[in-house]
């Protein structure tokens, strides 16, 4: 606070580089912490669990196995940065996945089926967005309705799993572009593409910046920003990502299954938060969410390498989530105090 006798504020730049970093980029800290954890996990697993953990194969499969989660977490990052939440992502993925399988089974071409399921995902997102924006419904509740709706619709499409025979879908998974021991599948490329586009949009478009503004200031509309449009759009984006994840998961498992993705919304939220996005909104990065997904996937891999119960994954992710939340709280509290 300026004192009585300093009429002019003249601090062009903070003193040292540490201060500069803290005054400009404090919100990067949680994401950097996630990167550190990821490295620690890899090194720790290599040393303590078994010597062949850090291999091109293993790292390549990390992307392959978690491509659907990566796509979901990108959409969710948009929503959470605006201060909202979308619980429907897992169910939307299940619904679009099973519907895709059903359409393909009926002989519909992928060129028709894919736009159809993406549109379906978008419509669920639109419903949530409209409830949130125009009826003042809490995002939590509105997306809960979306979760119910999509899960129910998944069962309406089919009560049991539908095997996918269509080669144009299975191709997404079975094609492996090799580079030595490294490989990547079209699903992996798709996931990385979504991450790249998501990150670019958030950093370099007015739409992306508006999502941050909404998360940082509930009255952002008074700044003349297009809040209504943006709020609805983030849920639509999340819905479309749900549709894409449905495609990827169906390709990955070779079948649509209405019970897919139960609880996946929690995994996705955990990944986004571990990646450094603050649940209160206004701070976060799509690339951070990618790191979060990799942390999640790595823990899962380590546990299966150790031959332990997979339920440990849930417990560890729960614990990690807790640690991150406490750290985030401290950071947010700190910056609030300064303002």
């Amino acid at each position: 606070m300026t004192s009585v006798d300093t009429a002019r504020t003249t601090t062009r730049k903070p003193a040292g580089s540490y201060e500069t970093f803290m005054s400009r980029r404090a919100s990067l800290l949680p994401t950097l912490a996630a990167v550190a954890i990821l490295i620690l996990l890899f090194v720790g697993a290599e040393i303590l669990v078994r010597g062949d953990f850090i291999t091109p194969r293993n790292i390549s499969s990390l992307l392959l196995d978690n491509a659907y989660l990566l796509i979901l977490s990108v959409g969710l990052t948009f929503v959470i940065v605006t201060g909202g939440i979308d619980l429907s992502v897992g169910s939307v993925m299940a619904f679009t996945g099973i519907w895709l399988a059903k359409l393909l089974e009926a002989g519909t071409s992928l060129a028709v089926a894919l736009p159809a399921i993406l549109l379906a995902g978008a419509l669920v997102g639109l419903l949530i967005g409209v409830l949130v924006q125009f009826f003042d419904v809490q995002p939590f509740i509105a997306s809960l309705a979306g979760l119910f709706l999509a899960r129910g619709l998944a069962f309406v499409v089919s009560l049991s799993s539908i095997k996918v025979e269509a080669t144009e879908v299975l191709w997404l998974q079975s094609t492996r572009i090799q580079l030595g021991d490294w490989y990547i599948t079209p699903t992996g490329i798709l996931a990385l593409l979504v991450v790249f586009v998501g990150a670019w949009v958030m950093q370099f478009t007015r739409f992306g910046r508006t999502t941050y503004a909404i998360g940082g200031n509930q009255q952002a509309a008074l700044m003349g920003l297009k809040v209504a449009r943006t709020t609805v759009a983030v849920y639509v984006i999340s819905g479309v990502c749900g549709g894409l994840a449905g495609l990827v998961l169906t390709a990955y498992s070779g079948a649509g299954y209405p019970r897919n993705g139960v609880g996946t919304e929690l995994d996705a939220i955990a990944a986004v938060v571990i990646g450094g996005t603050v649940l209160a909104g206004g701070r976060g990065y799509v690339l951070g969410s990618m790191v979060g997904v990799f942390v999640y996937g790595t823990i899962k891999t380590i546990i299966s390498f150790m031959g332990a119960e997979q339920s440990w994954t849930q417990i560890i992710i729960g614990g990690l989530l807790l640690v991150f939340i406490v750290v985030q709280r401290a950071i947010v509290a700190r910056s609030d105090r300064r303002s």
């Binding site: 003042d136 419904v137 509740i141 309705a145 129910g152 955990a270 339920s311 417990i315 729960g318």
Partner: protein, 347 residues
């Protein structure tokens, strides 16, 4: 008449009554109650019995929501509670010994209390957002339950344990459990100052703290209560299927509970709450469930209908819609009757 429709229980009760009427018209046996072996049977009685787990969870949820919180972990707590109870009964030499069942139930409830207290600790002492704090346990809780049952679905045959969900004392025993829970919670909240202090904390936590209200204790106790009630619900659930299924126990129940609370007219923003409303809300959900069963809708598909119910209810409750309705009705008479007043609307 107007004061009747203005009462905050009017819409929930009206919904429940019309649901029952529609069902009765569609199938006359819906409302009929028969007596066999000194026990009452009928669709309505079934609803009373089946609503027990959701009722208990929703009661806890109401109190937590009143403090401006939410408890997402109730389903996971149910899973843990069922796992603890069944593991104890399964491991005993005589699963049918009422003493063993008693011990199992008490230990399971204590474990749930512990989990609830953990949530309360995160929210009230560490100050973590409730959605997130309870998300931790929602994620990790089922993992813990799976570890307790070692990854299997533990099943038992124990007559005293089964009595909890299927027993009868003229009416189903499970019904008495939830009535007792409603009575205990209702008396604690409304006969003491706990209710109004909870509301004060929910409406304005900082003002309450400065007024000397022990808000931490109140918030903590709300989560602990929610844990205990979810624990009892988990025991009833496990007793009903005679097994501890860590994955299926209480799945989505947090969502139904939140729906019941909202249907009952308690705002998710915290503050003023209505336990009677929640009771009605749970009965509405259970009646809907029974209606769908009658209509031949596979239960897996029922979420679609609940989604529609949620959407309709939140739109009806939406302040935006109320403003719109008010503007429309006012437009008709405002020009003529508006008088200057010193009341301040927007100064």
């Amino acid at each position: 008449m107007r004061s009747v429709t203005k009462h905050r229980l009017f819409w929930p009760v009206a919904t429940l009554v019309s649901l029952i009427l529609i069902n009765t018209v569609a199938r006359s046996q819906f409302a009929s109650i028969t007596v066999r072996d000194g026990r009452l049977y009928g669709a309505l009685i079934d609803i009373l019995r089946q609503s027990a787990p959701l009722m208990l969870v929703s009661l806890g949820m109401t109190i937590v929501i009143a403090t401006r919180g939410i408890d997402l972990s109730v389903g996971a707590v149910m899973a843990v509670s069922g796992a603890v109870a069944l593991t104890i009964i399964d491991g005993s030499t005589d699963p049918s010994d009422p003493g063993v069942v008693m011990v199992a139930v008490v230990v399971a409830i204590l474990a749930s209390l512990l989990l609830g207290a953990w949530n309360g600790f995160l929210v009230s002492l560490l100050g973590i957002q409730p959605i997130i704090a309870t998300l931790v346990l929602m994620l990790a809780g089922r993992g813990v339950a799976l570890l307790i049952t070692e990854g299997f679905i533990t099943t038992v045959n124990s007559t005293p344990f089964e009595f909890i969900s299927t027993g009868y004392l003229l009416l189903p025993f499970a019904f008495f459990i939830w009535v007792a829970a409603v009575a205990v919670v209702g008396l604690t909240e409304r006969r003491t100052a706990l209710g109004v202090l909870t509301e004060a904390v929910g409406i304005n936590p900082e003002a309450s703290r400065l007024a000397g209200v022990r808000s931490r204790g109140i918030i903590w106790s709300a989560y602990a209560a929610s844990g205990v009630l979810a624990g009892i619900a988990g025991i009833i659930y496990a007793s009903n299927i005679k097994a501890a299924d860590a994955n299926a126990a209480g799945q989505f129940i947090e969502l139904y509970a939140i729906l019941a609370v909202v249907l009952g007219g308690t705002s998710l923003m915290g503050g003023k709450f209505s336990l009677a409303g929640t009771v009605v809300g749970v009965l509405i959900i259970q009646t809907l469930e029974s209606t769908m069963l009658f209509l031949g809708v596979p239960s897996a598909e029922s979420p679609v209908f609940f989604a529609i119910v949620v959407v309709v209810v939140v739109i009806i409750q939406s302040p935006r819609l109320h403003r719109l309705a008010r503007d429309v009705t006012n437009a008709a008479r405002s020009r003529r009757t508006a008088e200057p007043s010193d009341a301040e609307v927007a100064g």
